[in-house]
C-alpha cells in the first residue's frame, strides 16, 4: 500500500469516522480505524458493531492495500501535523505503517485489515431522499426524548415512519414524547416503519452540519439495517427490532387551558427556576392564569428546594381557558424549549395529572407531550 494525501483531508476524515469508534469493547480491533487505498481514494472505516461510519478522502494511490491502525493514535498524530502532503506506505508483508510528511517521519504498528469486522453492504431495499436541513431539525427535536435507560430497548430508538411523501420521527421515554413530521424529497410507494437507535441519529446529526445535498436513506430488505449516504460519508446502523408503543393514544386530543408564550422568556425563567429545582428532583410548578380586565394572562413558575430556598417568577402569556396548574420536571421542559427554533409555543393542559402538550406556533410539524409530576400544591 502506498499513497499520498493532504493532512487537512485526512484529519477531517478521521474526525468524521472517529465518532463511531468503540470506546469500550471486547473486540480490540474495533478501536482501530481501517485505512484502505482504493483507486484514487483513501477509505476510512470505523465501527462499534452497532453502527459503522465510512468516509472517503481524495488521495493519490500508487499501490492499493489496507491496514487498521489504533484510531486515537492516528487521529492525534495527524491532527498535530502541519497542513502538508502526507505519504503513507505499508511495506509488503508488514504491519508497520510508515508516515512521511516534510521532515517528519513516523511508524505505527497496525492489525491486519482482514480481521476488521466487515461493513454491511446495503444495495437494494427501500430508497428515499430527504433534505439535510429538515432531517437535522427533525432529529434535534426528538432525539433527546428517547430513553437512555435500556430496560425497554425500543424506547432507546427513534420510531421512523415513512409515509408516502412524509417522514415521521417519534421518540418517547415513558414520561415524554416528541413527534416531528417532515416531507420526503422523493416519495416512497408504501408505508414503512423502522426503529433507528437514538445514538445513530445523534451521530448522523453531527455529520449533517456541513451537508448541502439531500441525504439518501436505504433500508435493507430484511429491515435489519439502515444506510445513510451523505457526501463522501456513509453510516450503516443496525435497526432496533420490536414494535414501538402506539403513541397516538398518548397525545391528548383536547385541552381546557392553552397558553401562548414567548420561548426565550419562558426558557430564561425555566433556567432560573432550575437553580432551585435541581435540589428538588427537578420539580417546577406552573400556574396559568387567564387575563382579566386590563391584566394580561400569565404563567407563574415556581420552584422550591427544602432547606435551600425557592423562587417565583412570571411570564406574560396569551391564555385561553380557565386557570390551571401543572408540575413538570424542569429538564423535560427546557429540553423541548431549547429544541424549538420558532419564537413562540403553545402550552396546552387540562388537569394537574394529565399530560401537557407543547406545540410551536406557526408550524404544525411538531408535538411534544410531557407527563406531569404529581406534587402537593
Amino acid at each position: 500500500m502506498k499513497l499520498s494525501c493532504l493532512q487537512e483531508n485526512l484529519s477531517k476524515g478521521l474526525n468524521i469516522v472517529g465518532r463511531s469508534v468503540a470506546t469500550r469493547s471486547t473486540l480490540p480491533i474495533t478501536q482501530n480505524v481501517l485505512l484502505a487505498a482504493e483507486q484514487s481514494q483513501l477509505k476510512l472505516v470505523t465501527t462499534n458493531l452497532e453502527m459503522a461510519t465510512t468516509c472517503w478522502i481524495g488521495a493519490k494511490v500508487e499501490q492499493e492495500g489496507a491496514i487498521t491502525i489504533p484510531a486515537r493514535l492516528l487521529t492525534d498524530f495527524v491532527n498535530s501535523l502541519p497542513n502538508d502532503l502526507i505519504e503513507i506506505t505499508l511495506p509488503p508483508n508488514s504491519h508497520m505503517l510508515e508516515f512521511n510528511s516534510g521532515r517528519i517521519r513516523a511508524h505505527m504498528n497496525g492489525i491486519d485489515a482482514e480481521d476488521f469486522p466487515p461493513t454491511p453492504q446495503i444495495n437494494n431495499g427501500i430508497i428515499t431522499h430527504i433534505e439535510a436541513d429538515a432531517l437535522r431539525q427533525g432529529i434535534t427535536q426528538v432525539v433527546f426524548a428517547a430513553a437512555t435507560e435500556e430496560s425497554r430497548p425500543v424506547l432507546a430508538g427513534i420510531n421512523t415512519e415513512f409515509e408516502n411523501e412524509q417522514l415521521n420521527l417519534v421518540a418517547a421515554d415513558g414520561y415524554r414524547l416528541a413527534l416531528h413530521k417532515m416531507p420526503l424529497a422523493s416519495t416512497i410507494e408504501q408505508q414503512y416503519t423502522v426503529i433507528i437507535p437514538a445514538r445513530t441519529l445523534n451521530e448522523l446529526n453531527h455529520l449533517l452540519g456541513n451537508q448541502q445535498d439531500p441525504v439518501e436513506i436505504t433500508i435493507n430488505e430484511q429491515r435489519s439495517q439502515v444506510l445513510f449516504r451523505l457526501k463522501n460519508v456513509e453510516i450503516v446502523s443496525q435497526l432496533i427490532q420490536g414494535s414501538f408503543p402506539d403513541y397516538s393514544q398518548v397525545i391528548p386530543k383536547s385541552y381546557t387551558t392553552r397558553a401562548v408564550v414567548d420561548i426565550t422568556e419562558f426558557m430564561r425563567v425555566a433556567k432560573m427556576s432550575s437553580v432551585f429545582a435541581r435540589n428538588a428532583n427537578g420539580i417546577i410548578r406552573l400556574l396559568i392564569t387567564p387575563g382579566a380586565d386590563l391584566n394580561a394572562g400569565k404563567i407563574t413558575i415556581s420552584a422550591q428546594a427544602e432547606e435551600i430556598g425557592d423562587n417565583v417568577s412570571e411570564v406574560d402569556a396569551l391564555v385561553d381557558g380557565e386557570e390551571a396548574k401543572i408540575a413538570f420536571n424542569v429538564k423535560y421542559l427546557s429540553d423541548v424549549l431549547s429544541s424549538i427554533p420558532q419564537s413562540q409555543i403553545a402550552l396546552e393542559i387540562s388537569t394537574p395529572s394529565s399530560p401537557g402538550v407543547i406545540r410551536p406556533i406557526g408550524v404544525d410539524n411538531y408535538v411534544h407531550v410531557i407527563m406531569p409530576m404529581f406534587v402537593q400544591w
Partner: protein, 556 residues
C-alpha cells in the same frame, strides 16, 4: 407396669437434671451462691471441660457447721422463707436446689467456715449421700469442689458436648458474671492455666479491659441511665467496633445475666443502619427494674425472664442506646488496613486516667468540609479534608443521601411522583402479588400507582420521581421481593426507602464529573448519618494526615 411412687434418689436425680444440664450450670449455681454469700473474691477452677473437676472458692459468709448437712437437702435455702419473698427476692438463687442437685449428679466436697465460728467444716458427698464429715479450720468462706459430673448418670453424660465446648460455655458464663459484678474479683483457671482475672475494683470499663482487651475498653461508650425507670447503665461499643456474633451482647436485669431475645433485638435495632450486615455490637447493659416488674422464676436455670411491659422496655432500651450512639463520630475510628493507630502503647495504660477523656462529650456526627480531588476506579471519590484524605464510596454515599431524602419526603407526606405517559405492565409472581396486596397503601404513599390488570399483572401509572430514570419494572419487583424477605426486622417504610435508594443511586464504575462529585459530597455533608450507607456499610474511609506522614516516614 403398675404405677408407683419413685424412690427419693430417682426423684432427686430427675430434679437435678432440670438445674444441672452441663458443667456450666454447676459453675453458675456455685458462683451465684458465692455472690449471694457476699463474696468479694471468687476463684473458679475447671478441668477437663468441667466434667472432671469444678472448684469454686470464695471469701463469702460461709455456712455454719450446724447447717452444712442441711444445705444439701432439696429446697433448703437461706434466701427466702415464704411465697411472698419470691416477688421481692434480690438474691440470684432462691429455689434451694443447687447444692442438692449438684450432689445428686456428682461427687461433691464442701469446705466452709462461717465468720462467727472458730472452726470450719468439711463434708464430702457421693451420689447425694454423706460419705465423710469432719471439722477443720480455714479462713472465712466456702470452697465447693465437684468431681466427675454425671459419672453415675451415663444417659446425661452422653449428651454433654466435647470438653472444649463445655469449657467455652463456662468461660462465657463466668465472663458474664464478671461483667455483672465489677466489684468482685473473679479469677478463672482452666486446666491450671489462668484464663482471666478481674481486678474487682468496681469499674466496669476495667472488667471489659480485662476480658476483651484494653483497646476495646477505651473505645466503649458509656450508657448513662440518668434516673430513668428502669435505670439503664453499662457500656456500648461505637459502630466502628463490631463482632461477628451476638455473644458480646451481655444483658443483666437486676445484676442477673439473662438471655433475652427481646433486649438483644432492642440493642441491635439501636445500631440499625450503622453496622454492616452480619456484624454485631459489643454491649454490657445493666437494667435495674423493680422486682415486681420482672419474673425470673420461669425456669430453674433463671436465664429466661418475663417482663411486665415488654413493649415499653423494648423502646426504652432501644431509644436510650440510640441516643448514646448518635453522639459518635464514626469514620475516624475506622482503622486503615495498612497501618495501625499509633496512639496505643504510648504510655502505660491507666484505666482511670483514660476514663475522663473517653466519657467527655463527643461531637455530633458532622463531616468536615471536603474538597474533591478526583475519582478512583470510577467508584471512589478522593477528597481532601482538614485532617487528611477521605475515600468516599460514591454508591454508598449517594444511597445514604437518597435514603434520607426518601424517608423525609415520606414523613412529610410529600413524596414526589412522576406520571407515566402510558402505563407499564408489571407481571408479578404469587408471592410478590401477596406482598403488594398487603402493602398497597404504603406503596402508594411512596409514589407507586398500581392497578390490577388481569391475573397477577398490574398497570403502573406513576412512579417515585427518584427512580423515574431507572428500570421501573425492576424497581417494583425488587422492592416487593425485599419486602417479602422476613428475616430482616426493619420496618416496612425503611425497607422501601432502602430499596429505592439503592436502586436509584449512582453505581460503582460510573464516571462522574468534578461538578457531580462536588455536589455529591456537599449533599453528603448535609446528611444526618453521612458515615454509613443504609445497609450499614461505611461511605468513607479516612486516612489521617498523621497516618500519611507516618507511612512516609516524615514522623516516627
Amino acid at each position: 407396669m403398675p404405677i408407683k411412687v419413685l424412690a427419693p434418689g430417682v426423684i432427686s436425680q430427675i430434679a437435678a437434671g432440670e438445674v444441672i444440664e452441663n458443667p456450666a450450670s454447676v459453675v453458675k449455681e456455685l458462683v451465684e451462691n458465692s455472690l449471694d454469700a457476699g463474696a468479694s473474691q471468687i476463684k473458679v477452677e475447671v478441668q477437663g471441660g468441667g466434667i472432671e473437676l469444678i472448684g469454686v472458692v470464695d471469701d463469702g459468709a460461709g455456712i455454719s457447721a450446724a447447717e452444712v448437712e442441711l444445705a444439701f437437702q432439696r429446697h433448703a435455702t437461706s434466701k427466702i422463707t415464704d411465697v411472698d419473698d419470691l416477688s421481692s427476692t434480690s438474691t440470684l438463687g432462691f429455689r434451694g436446689e443447687a447444692l442438692s442437685s449438684i450432689a445428686a449428679a456428682a461427687e461433691v466436697e464442701l469446705y466452709t467456715q462461717a465468720a462467727s465460728e472458730v472452726v470450719g467444716s468439711r463434708i464430702r458427698l457421693s451420689q447425694g449421700k454423706v460419705v465423710r464429715q469432719e471439722s477443720r479450720s480455714r479462713p472465712r468462706g466456702t470452697t465447693v469442689t465437684m468431681r466427675w459430673l454425671f459419672r453415675h448418670l451415663p444417659a446425661r453424660l452422653k449428651f454433654l458436648k466435647s470438653a472444649s465446648r463445655e469449657e467455652s460455655r463456662i468461660v462465657h458464663l463466668l465472663t458474664q458474671y464478671a461483667l455483672a459484678f465489677p466489684e468482685v474479683k473473679f479469677r478463672l483457671l482452666v486446666d491450671q492455666h489462668l484464663n482471666f482475672e478481674t481486678t474487682g475494683d468496681g469499674s466496669l470499663r476495667g472488667v471489659v479491659a480485662c476480658l476483651y482487651g484494653r483497646e476495646m475498653a477505651q473505645k466503649m461508650l458509656v450508657i448513662e441511665g440518668e434516673g430513668t425507670t428502669p435505670a439503664l447503665s453499662g457500656l456500648l461499643s461505637p459502630p466502628s467496633l463490631t463482632r461477628s456474633n451476638r455473644s458480646y451482647i451481655s444483658i443483666f436485669v437486676n445484676r442477673r445475666w439473662v438471655r433475652s431475645p427481646l433486649l438483644i433485638k432492642a440493642t441491635e435495632v439501636a445500631y440499625r443502619g450503622l453496622l454492616m450486615e452480619g456484624r454485631h455490637p459489643i454491649a454490657v447493659i445493666n437494667l435495674a427494674l423493680p422486682s415486681a416488674d420482672v419474673d425470673v422464676n420461669v425456669h430453674p436455670a433463671k436465664a429466661q425472664v418475663r417482663f411486665r411491659d415488654e413493649q415499653m422496655l423494648f423502646s426504652m432500651v432501644q431509644e436510650s442506646l440510640r441516643a448514646v450512639l448518635s453522639q459518635v463520630p464514626i469514620a475516624t475510628e475506622k482503622t486503615v488496613p495498612f497501618t495501625t493507630s499509633s496512639r496505643q502503647g504510648e504510655s502505660s495504660w491507666e484505666l482511670h486516667d483514660r476514663e475522663a477523656s473517653v466519657i467527655a462529650p463527643l461531637p455530633t456526627i458532622e463531616l468536615p468540609v471536603l474538597r474533591v480531588l478526583g475519582q478512583l476506579s470510577n467508584t471512589y471519590i478522593i477528597a481532601e479534608g482538614p485532617d487528611g484524605l477521605y475515600l468516599v464510596d460514591q454508591h454508598a454515599a449517594h444511597e445514604r443521601i437518597r435514603y434520607e431524602r426518601i424517608l423525609a419526603q415520606w414523613k412529610r407526606q410529600e413524596v414526589e411522583v412522576q406520571g407515566l405517559l402510558s402505563p407499564v405492565t408489571v407481571e408479578l409472581n404469587p408471592r410478590q402479588e401477596a406482598t403488594l396486596k398487603s402493602n398497597r397503601e404504603l406503596l402508594v404513599q411512596f409514589g407507586f400507582s398500581l392497578e390490577p390488570f388481569g391475573s397477577r399483572s398490574y398497570l403502573m401509572r406513576a412512579v417515585p420521581v427518584l427512580i423515574a430514570n431507572t428500570n421501573v419494572v425492576e424497581a417494583i419487583t425488587t422492592l416487593l421481593d425485599n419486602l417479602a424477605a422476613r428475616e430482616d426486622p426493619v420496618p416496612w417504610q425503611e425497607k422501601i426507602a432502602r430499596t429505592l435508594a439503592c436502586h436509584s443511586a449512582i453505581r460503582g464504575g460510573q464516571q462522574l464529573s468534578r461538578e457531580e462529585m462536588g455536589e455529591l459530597i456537599r449533599q453528603l455533608e448535609r446528611a444526618e448519618q453521612p458515615r454509613t450507607c443504609p445497609h450499614g456499610r461505611p461511605t468513607m474511609i479516612h486516612l489521617t494526615s498523621h497516618q500519611i506522614e507516618k507511612e512516609f516516614g516524615r514522623i516516627v
